[in-house]
Structures are given as C-alpha cells and as structure tokens.
C-alpha cells in the first residue's frame, strides 16, 4: 500500500500485483464468507430487524395483527408498572453484581499469583462454577436459602443469635439472593481473564517499585491496575452486557417474585412473549433492553480512554 508513495526498486510491479490480487481475492472471499454470512444474515440480521418491526405491531400468536405505531412503547413507559420494576431490578442487579464480580475476581486472581505450586489447581477450582448451568446452581442454592431451616440461616442463628432473613420469600432479599448465586457462579471467568493479564506484566515493573520502597497497596494501584487495565476493561464490558440479560436465576430461584421484587427485563419479556403471547409487546421490551445495552456500552467505550492504559 505504501509502495505507491515511496518509489523503490520494485514499486513498478507492486500495483499490478495488488490489483490482480484484489480481483482474485473477491471470488475466494465469497466462498470463505458464505457459510457464516448466510447464517449471520438469516439468524442475526433478519431477526434483529424483524423484532424492531414487530415492536410497532399488536401481534398476538394467533389472531389479527395490527400496526399500532409506538403504542407498545407508550404503554411500557406509562402504564406497565411491572416493567418499571423490571428496569429498576435489572439496574439494581447490574449495579451490585458487576462490581462484586470484578472485585472478587481480581482479588482471587492477585491472591493466587502469590502461590507458585498450588495456584494452578486453585484456579481450576474457582473456575468450575462457570461451567455449570445456572439452573442447577439455582436448585442447589435454593436449599441453602430456605428460611429458618436452611444452612445460611442456621449459620447466622448459630453465630449471631438472630433470625436470618427470609431470603427468597422476602421482597427486599430476593435480588440479593440472586446476586449472591450469580457472583458465585460467574466470577471465575473474569478471574481467568485477569490472571492472563497479570501474567503479562513484566517482573521488572515490580522490581522497580520495590526499589522505590512502595507498599503493596500502592504497587497494586499504580503498577498492577494500569497494566492490567485492558483485561479489566474487557471483563467489565462483557460482564455488564451479560448481566443486563439476567433471567435464569430469577426464573428458577424466585420466579420473579415475591410480587415483582425480582422481575427482571428479560423475565418480563419472556412472560409477555411466551406466556401471554403478546409478541409485539415482547419485542418492544427487547428493543428497550437493546437500547439500554447500546447506551451503556457506548458510555464505557467513551470512558475507557480516561483509564485504560494500552502499551505502545
């Protein structure tokens, strides 16, 4: 590409070759891209646009469909009080779950760095929950959350001599219960991500900071965090996107309740779409979710240049 600007010995043949290559590649590229491209067009682009179109219709599963413009959205934001709690609950989940996940993951990743022999097996142990279905985790944890007789409340009672919360059946404890299980299941992924990031930091940085007499805490904030920030950013970005989609735990653990205290956006989407068969309305919920995710991701992309440190 630069060959056309800088006249070198072989610059005369380069444009010819590049030209021939370009034409030849187009046909080859077609075959390489075809299998994925067709699937991508049919199963990603089409439904994406279709769901936007659907959201402007009253579209029951069986029966007449009719175009109603923005009516679904208007109803969502003015009449649907459950949707309002769904948004609040989902934001609550994201706001508490993401920091907890990231802090636990980073703590464990840094902690295990200090162990040379046992850290490999310990990493695998901490990662195992990621490989398990949330539905199974919810089933297992539901036993621990049982009030009074459950393990958690028994421990609380033994240690503090007070009755523990009613976890799944108390409106204010339903979301925290879900968050606890989600962190338990999910932090291992970020832990492995951060581990690789920590691993890539050259030893010399730490040596230098030791010579300067910096404390561990300062070293962590001034050396480790900046150098691991690309992994940290990537982990946070992905965790935020996925945590907006919280559904499995709310469905199995609390069934969105008690009342609407753990109804999340996707839970409500599922209820509207596949219990009430209000497909247009469900699509409107889907697009609100999508827009929220886009905005939040966009903000994060903007903010990254203030704190993410890329070498070179």
């Amino acid at each position: 590409m630069s060959a056309t600007v800088v006249p070198t010995a072989n610059s005369t043949i380069t444009p010819v070759r590049a030209h021939r290559r370009k034409r030849g590649d187009a046909r080859t590229a077609f075959f390489f891209l075809l299998p994925n491209g067709v699937g991508f067009a049919v199963f990603t682009l089409t439904p994406l646009i279709a769901s936007l179109v659907l959201s402007f219709f009253a579209w029951p599963l069986i029966g007449r469909t009719s175009f109603i413009g923005l009516q679904n959205y208007v109803t969502l934001f003015t009449k649907d009080t459950t949707f309002r709690s769904a948004i609040v609950n989902t934001l609550y989940f994201v706001a508490v779950y993401v920091p907890l996940n990231v802090i636990v993951a980073m703590t464990v990743a840094v902690w295990l760095q200090g162990y040379s022999r046992s850290r490999r097996i310990l990493r695998v142990i901490f990662f195992v929950p990621v490989l398990t279905p949330l539905v199974a985790d919810a089933v297992v944890w539901s036993l621990l959350f049982t009030n009074r007789n459950g393990l958690i409340d028994s421990i609380i009672h033994t240690i503090f001599r007070v009755q523990g919360p009613e976890w799944l059946s108390a409106p204010q404890w339903a979301m925290p219960s879900i968050i606890i299980v989600a962190v338990w299941q999910g932090f291992g992924y970020n832990m492995l991500l951060f581990t690789a990031g920590l691993h890539a930091i050259p030893e010399t940085f730490y040596d230098a900071s030791k010579i300067d007499g910096a404390s561990r805490w300062r070293t962590f904030w001034n050396i480790t965090i900046p150098l691991v920030s690309p992994s940290l950013f990537f982990g946070i970005l992905l965790t935020v996107i996925t945590s907006f989609q919280v559904f499995d735990l709310a469905y199995i653990l609390t069934d969105g309740g008690p009342g609407t205290s753990s109804t999340t956006i996707v839970y409500w989407l599922f209820e509207k779409g596949f219990n009430d068969y209000a497909m247009g309305y469900a699509s409107a919920i889907a697009w609100v979710l999508f827009l929220i995710v886009i905005v939040v991701t966009g903000i994060q992309m903007r903010l990254q240049r203030h704190w993410v440190f890329y070498e070179s």
Binding site: T46, V128, D137, L192, L269
Partner: protein, 283 residues
C-alpha cells in the same frame, strides 16, 4: 496505611499463614453449596433439613441418585446436551474459521464495512432475537427439534471476531512463502493456517460448548418434550414435576453439575494458564 517495605521473614510468615487460612476459607465457601447438596441428596427424605452434621452420618441413600436419574431421565438430558453442544460447536468453529480467515487475510471491496457490521452485532443480546426467531422456527417446523437448539446460534459474530484476530497475529511471511510456491488460498488456509490456530479453536470451542450446554431461555421457548430437553431444561422439568422433595431435587442438581466438573478436570492444564487476551482486542 503505607507500611514501609520492611524486608523480613518475620513479618511475612504470619502474613503467609493468614493468607493460607483465608484461601482455605474461600475454597470451602465455594465448595460448600455443592458439598451440602450432595450430602442432602444422600439423606432419607425425612432428614433433608436436619442441619446437625451428625445427620450426614447416615446419609447413605445412594438409591436417591438412581431414582432421580431414572425419573429425569438424566441420561437423556446429558445425551441431548452433548449432541446439541457438539454439533453447535462444530458448526460455529467451522464457519467462524472460514469467515475469520476471509476477514483477516483476503482483500475485497467493502471488507471493513462488512466486518464492522459483524462487530456491531456483538452487543445484541440474544433475547432481542428470540421472538422473531421463534416465529422462524415455527414456520420451518423446527419446534421440538435438535435443529432449533443448534442452528440459530451457530453464526454469532463473536467467533468470527475471535478467529480474525488470531489469523491477523500470524506473520504474513508464512503466507507469502506459500504463495511464491503457487499455493491457493484454500491450500494455505488448510495446510499453513489451521495448524497455527489450534489454541484459538480450543478457546472458541470451549466457550461455544459451555454456552450451548448451559443455555436455558431458548430451549425453554422451543422445546416442550422431555425427550429433547438439554440439562438445564430437563432439570427445570424435573423441578416442576418433582416439586420440593429435597433429597431427590439435590440429586438431580448434583447430577447436572457433574459434567462441568469433569470438563474442568480434563481442561485443567489449559484453564490454569488463564484466558489469554491475545485476539480479544486486548492489545
């Protein structure tokens, strides 16, 4: 706050002990739910809520696992999960490899724009697509079929993105050498590139398989037959039919956790190194 870095084995030994104890507690906390579930699964029903540790002494009802296994039927759920996960992973990895190579190494008009379109869909939550996708499955007659579980999610942008990044990290010289010898792109892809991207295939394969294996919302929408249920959906059927007979429920839950544990043991050598960011836009 900022303690001077006093060199000293004296200071670091208690700190080390404290660290070991803390770590042991953390591991116990992590494993406790599973251990408790296994213990409860082995109890007779009447004692399921007896929290005295002594009650675990006669937690020897292995028949609970047999009962749950047969009632599920969990053998079926595991097999379905394996079929769906394996087929979905094979399809995803194959198409992602091809497209990834195309975007990384071929030159054609509009390539970067097309790639941007792919990248842009990375932020689309799966749930945004499920309603039209459900209609699509219905019109194809795919409700209650393996295809419905496998095909729709095998063309995600993530795999293409990951593979492209890996292909780009391979030095161009390798490719040029083969080209001088008159090799075609297909030959280069097959003989030169593929052996080099095995680690990337491993990463993509693992995460694709886990996503299929753990997926719940989509099976819940398109499958209502126990014969086709994957593990999470099967467990949900089990839960709604078995109710809260805790010992059996915990047996079912434990059975559903085991494959993940086995996978971790098999892959421990790779997992223990951490997930390398190379190729994930970390550079």
């Amino acid at each position: 706050m900022s303690a001077p870095a006093t060199s000293g084995a004296k200071r670091s030994r208690p700190r080390r002990t404290l660290s070991n104890v803390g770590l042991a507690v953390a591991v116990c906390l992590l494993l406790l739910p599973v251990a408790w579930a296994i213990g409860t699964a082995l109890k007779p029903e009447a004692e399921a809520f007896d929290n005295n540790l002594s009650s675990f002494a006669h937690a020897t009802e292995f028949s609970n696992f047999v009962t749950a296994w047969n009632y599920g039927p969990f053998g079926r759920f595991l097999l379905n999960g394996l079929i769906v996960g394996a087929a979905g992973t094979a399809l995803t990895v194959t198409t992602s490899l091809l497209a990834g190579y195309g975007f990384a190494r071929l030159h054609f008009r509009g390539r970067d724009k097309l790639f941007f379109l792919y990248i842009a869909t990375l932020v689309v939550p799966q749930q945004v697509l499920v309603v039209p996708m459900f209609f699509m499955m219905r019109d194809l007659g795919w409700i209650n079929s393996y295809q419905a579980l496998i095909v729709p999610w095998a063309f995600s942008a993530f795999g293409v993105f990951l593979m492209r990044q890996f292909f780009r990290s391979i030095p161009l010289e390798l490719e040029d050498a083969a080209k001088v010898d008159g090799a075609s792109h297909f030959w280069i892809f097959w003989r030169v590139m593929l052996p080099l991207v095995v680690p990337a295939v491993g990463v993509l394969g693992l995460f694709t398989f886990i996503a299929y294996w753990n997926s719940f919302l989509w099976p819940l929408i398109v499958i209502n037959s126990r014969d086709l249920a994957t593990v999470p959906l099967g467990l949900q059927f089990f839960l709604s039919q078995q109710g809260y007979q805790w010992n059996l429920l915990m047996a079912g839950g434990t059975i559903s956790l085991v494959p993940g544990l086995l996978l971790a043991i098999v892959l421990q050598r790779y997992l223990s190194r951490g997930l390398s960011l190379s190729g994930l836009g970390g550079r």
